[in-house]
């Protein structure tokens, strides 16, 4: 009996850790959004550096949580039938944090020149990408608690990803049809793609989640 109670206590602890990990993913995307806004308005400044540092801390915390969760899942042989799927999901989500952190560093190091006429579209792209990440985090939470809602959230992920593709294409067309020097055009395209990468990754995760959900419902 006490063994069963201990199992439930451990389960609660692990549930909290998974929730905290998903919070990290959400938070890191919001930090990224804030960082881009700051960069567009003020360039590299103290606020931007603070956001980059925060993204780094979230990345470290995310890694710690992911490892702790993975270890416990294996040590306690939990969810044997879905363990591999959950591990893959956590690693893919962790990759989203890695991308946001890496992007913050890229801005710090490469300080791309973003002309004013691009700002609005750039912010649009960032907003859409972050909505996409938010939706995939919601979808992941639903996978753990309410699998019937996964489909709804995944639909949003797909929608935002398509939107992000459209905006990034538009931005690339704008960049390459502008009078900017070639090197800056290429530099801009690189950053557009790095931001859009978040949405693409989120879409891949949503696709995998759809399969995991089918497996869970058998």
């Amino acid at each position: 009996m006490s063994k069963t109670l201990a199992l439930f206590r451990k389960t609660r602890f692990l549930e909290n850790q998974i929730d905290e990990f998903l919070d990290c993913v959400s938070e890191s995307s919001l930090v990224f959004k804030g960082a881009i806004k700051t960069y567009l308005e003020h360039g590299i400044c103290d606020d931007f550096n603070a956001s980059t540092q925060q993204a780094g801390e979230l990345e470290t915390r995310g890694d710690e949580l992911r490892r702790a969760i993975e270890t416990q899942l294996y040590e306690q042989t939990l969810i044997p039938d879905l363990r591999a799927d959950v591990l893959k999901l956590l690693e893919d989500l962790d990759n989203l944090i890695n991308i946001t952190q890496a992007n913050c560093y890229r801005f710090t190091i490469e300080t791309p020149e973003i002309p004013l006429e691009f700002h609005s579209e750039f912010m649009d792209l960032t907003d859409t990408v972050i909505s996409c990440v938010d939706a995939v985090v919601m979808s992941s939470r639903a996978f753990f608690r309410n699998i019937e809602a996964v489909r709804d959230h995944n639909t949003k992920v797909m929608f935002y990803e398509t939107q992000a593709d459209k905006i990034s294409s538009k931005l690339k067309v704008m960049a390459f049809s502008s009078d900017l020097p070639k090197v800056e055009k290429i530099h801009l395209r690189y950053f557009i793609e790095r931001i859009d990468e978040l949405a693409n990754e989120a879409e891949d995760i949503a696709d995998a989640l759809a399969i995991y959900t089918i497996k869970r419902s058998i």
């Binding site: 692990l14 753990f144 608690r145």
Partner: protein, 497 residues
Amino acid sequence: MDIVVILFLTSGLFLGWSLGANDAANVFGTAVGTRMVRFTTAALVCSIFVILGAVFSGAGAANTLGTLGSVNALAGSFVAALSAAVTVYLMTRLGLPVSTSQAIVGAIIGWNLFSGSITDSNTLFKILGTWVACPLLAGVIAAPLYKITQRVLGWAQFHLLRLDAYTRAALIFAGAFGSYSLGANNIANVMGVFVEVSPFTDFDIGGMVTFTGIQQLFLIGAVAIGVGVFTYSKKVMLTVGTSLVPLSPVAAWVVVIAHSIVLFLFASEGLEYLLASSGLPTIPLVPVSSSQAVVGAVVGIGILKGGKNIDWKILGNIGAGWITTPIISAVVCFVALFFMQNVFNQQVYRETNYSLSSTAMEHLVEKGFPVEDLREIQGNTYRNASIYRAAILERTPLTEAEEAMALRFGEIFYTKITPNKLTKIDREWLGEKRSVALEGLSGRSFMYKWQLAEFLARKNTQWKLLEQTTVNKVYNKQIKSRLDYLYRTFSDAEQPR
């Protein structure tokens, strides 16, 4: 205990071992195979509950096997259990689906044929009916249970990990229930043929609880099942858990529960009494196949999901097994009995003689039995039930009930109530009034079992059997077990058989 007795019990123990090795996988296979439950936990829970089920609820299904044919010599029981075990082994080697229940029924029929005993056709049809009903019922239970479980889980929205923890606990609970049901239902297969020749006697524990000879016999059988679980079932569990239709742990739980309910329904005397006392139709207590219950449950869920993944060939094989297994087992048993009797010179059955004495005739007349045409065979003694029945049927046609009555009143079993044996009886267990009634018959001899029973009933109403209804079954069973005790104790072996 005599070494020969132990030797003869080994075939039953072997059957128990193989049952433990194979059927425990039906209860815990998916849980262990998918690593939801550790093997040691599964084996421990399984063994404990199999023993509890066998000892406390095993009698119901064993009684039905006893009605089909009561193997009355230890060597015969040995051969019957061994034949069933060999049949199970052979069919498993050939890759054919096989059930211990079907094999043991075949073996009993084989023994009946060899010994000239009569196979009770009513009981046989009842048993055959339950074999068909078992997988069907499992499917019928599993499908809605699966739907309800899905609904409840959808509504409760447990976290995946919480659901995992609940499922583990539920699988252990279902496994315990399944093991209890398995023990209760299938111990009859393992030890049923030894009931008549059980070497164990009843004893009281602290004057409170009586541990009957049958319970002691079932305990030994259940321990053999437990040994089977610990020594060999891991391999089978891992195979079943990974190679059967892929099931989620929740679906696996539904399958185990459906299987357990079915086995329990076909084993519970308590439930039978409850249904009967509420005026509802009862479920026959018969050993059924746990593997087929599992297949039925899986198919039930499969049909619910559209029936695309169902291998109908498996169902066909199961149907074929209902016929082939008992036939093979009966043939094996018949041949083995012949060898045991003629090569090893062992008594494989105790000859039961039949005779219609004038007392028996009078009694039959009282019961309104048509005896006019039977006067010419009055006083003749017949070697076994088949010859006796043939002699009667030659002269007068009988209904099934009349036939059963003729067999009951004609079976010779000499008893003598000697003062010496009277001092040794267990007065406490018999009850004071019943013991006094018995003492009143001191010095008297009886030719038939029913004679002794009737004399006792006349002396004291506490010896009287109530009308044969399911509600009265438990009471009558208590009286019958006391009468059986008297038959064993006062059996007069000196008399010619």
